[in-house]
Every structure is written in C-alpha cells, then in structure tokens.
Assembly symmetry: C2
Homo-oligomer: 199 residues x 2
C-alpha cells in the first residue's frame, strides 16, 4: 500500500533520483519540505526552474551562466590575453575564490577519458581553437584536474596549441596528484598557479 | 565576485538549506539539475509544490496525506479497534512495510522531550483522547521510538489511558534500544509487534 499518498511518494521518488541522495535521505528531505512554510517550498521550486531555464553557456568561455557574457568575461579589467583552461565551471569558481587570477577562462566541460568514451570531440576544444583564432592569447594556462584524465587532456591541448606559437603552461603540481581540483584549498590553488611552468 | 551568476547561486543556496546537504553537495546538486533536461527540473519543482501544497493531516490518524482520510484509515478491512501510536508518519510507513499490522494508527508528531521544550501539549495527545472518546478501541499499541523520549512518551500515554479501562501495550524490545524506529528492518519490527506486552 502507498502509505504516504501520491504527492509525497512522488516527491520522495524525485529526490531519490538526485546524485548522492538515497532512499532514506529522500524521505527525510520530502518530510522536511512538507513541514516547511509554503513559501520555502516555493522558493526552492522557483530556484530550480530559474536555474535550469535561465542558465546557458557563456558565448566566450562556455561556463554556465545566466548573463551573456558571464560576469568574468564581461569584466573589462581582466586580461583577455591570458586564458585558463578548466574542466568544469566549478573549477573556474574555485580559482575565482583565490582572487589570484586576473585572466579569462575556457571551460572544457569534461576531460579526455577513453574509458568513458569521452574523446577530444566531446570537449569544447574546437571552440577554444576558434576563440584563439579570433582573439589570440599570450598564454594558455592548463588547469585541468591533476589526475590521469586531466593530465591527458592537458597534454593533448598542449600539443595542439604549440604549433600555433602560443605559450602553454600547466599549473604546478602543488595540487595533490590524484585529487579533484574542486576540493583543493585556496592556498594550494594559489601556489599551483604561481609555480606554473611552460610545457 | 559571483562567478556562477544569480540563478545558479540562488539554487545552490536553496539546496544548502536542506537538512544534511552541505555546501559541496548543494553545488553538485545544482549542477546536476542544470545539466538535466528541462522536463526533469520541472518534474522536481512540481513534486515539491504538489507535496507541500497538497499534503494535510489525516482527520483521523493525523498522518501526513494528500487524501482525506488517509489510505490506511480509509481501508474498511482494517481493525479500527486496534490503534498503534507512532511518533512520525515515517514510523507508520515503516510498520506498513511489514504488512503485519491490520489495525489503524495515531501519529503524535514527536515525542516528549523536556530538553527541547516539547511537552505533552506539543504532541497530538489531546486528539488521541477525543478520538478514543468518539470511537473506543480495544487495544492501544505504543510504538514510540525505543529511546529516552519515546519511552517517556509511552509511559505518559499509558498512565493517561489506563484509567479509561483500555488495554495499553508496548512493542517488545526487539527493536534495538537507543535506535530510531524508522531505520529498523522489517523482521525486527515484526518481532517487536508479536512480542508486545501489556503496560
């Protein structure tokens, strides 16, 4: 028997589809929502819809944003001739939190991973080449994750850009090898940026 | 600087208000939503609104439900003279999953907890007395949690009901002491029901 009734069961089901939310957590979240004021539930629902409907890729750096271009690309004080390549918008946000980088970004939306069937064509590498053709850069900083996929991606892009005569650097291995860039502390991220070397 | 833009930041903020969702999890959930089809985000938002707006207390057992009365109270095959007292709708759902109880429920929505300022008046005990006056029961089974608050609540209700001449039982201590009823396996819950004794 469906003890909870249709609408609660549906909510539990929807929550349990989210990553990292098991059955018990979904149940707890659903009952939390039900016990909140209606306005709180409406705020969450609206946030979900606005984020999903309003967010698009920045036409310049391809990060996820609701403004066009994104706040970083729109900032005229930043140096457009220095471009940091990251795998994910969250990595970009992590570097923004260091306040130590004044160039622009390019978001690949992934890393080369033959095991998962992700090749260079699945990443925003073609867009990077087009971008560099239209507005050449002095330096490309490869800030992909310090794991196998990230290193392979950095290597691939480095080989692709070298013939174009652009300076290609890799963030230093101050970032812990095998880790995920998103979870590294600001200090380590800053050190890694300072210690970057030409590839 | 707000790297993500207003709508993503808002969604991350809303997610991080949920219980058990930290900053990193909220970020991961937000990006998961953004990368899903619009329909998926709409389904989640609708489920939240429907659950919050459509759910009310069952007029008989006071569980949370979107039908009136709830599916259990509406089931004419169940024995209305046997009432199980639980703290929470989730505990009721846990007992429903055992398929071993054919009576009805009464949901207290909490347990007596002086430390948290919750006394008998904060629970649905007055409603229980009114209910028993209108439709007397043969047996009241106290299935509050097997922890300090649950035991205190069971004791309180037992003393309240004994003078009315109703048989009051407590589920057996097959349920692990100090635990949370919601997380007990079906077999243990069934054993606890079978081994109930008069208080």
């Amino acid at each position: 028997m469906n003890v909870y009734g249709e609408s609660i069961s549906r909510l539990i089901e929807e929550f349990s589809k989210l990553p990292g939310i098991g059955g018990k957590s979904a149940q707890r979240l659903a009952f939390y929502i039900i016990n909140q004021k209606v306005e709180r539930a409406e705020a969450l629902a609206a946030a979900i819809l606005n984020a999903r409907r309003g967010v698009r890729y920045c036409s310049i750096c391809l990060t996820l944003t609701d403004s066009e271009p994104c706040a970083v690309c729109a900032d005229y004080k930043r140096d457009p001739r220095q471009i940091m390549i990251v795998e994910d918008p969250r990595d970009m946000a992590a570097y923004e939190r260091t306040n130590g980088f004044k160039g622009l970004y390019h978001v690949l939306h992934g890393a080369i991973s033959p095991m998962n069937g992700i090749g260079p064509n699945e990443l925003k590498i073609r867009e990077l080449l087009t971008r560099l053709k239209e507005s050449p850069a002095d330096e490309i900083i490869l800030a992909t994750n310090p794991n196998v996929e990230g290193e392979a991606t950095a290597m691939y892009i480095s080989r692709l850009l070298k013939p174009l005569g652009v300076k290609v650097t890799r963030i230093a291995h101050g970032v812990p090898v095998g880790g995920d860039l998103e979870f590294v502390d600001e200090m380590t991220l800053s050190r890694a940026l300072e210690g970057r070397r030409e590839m």
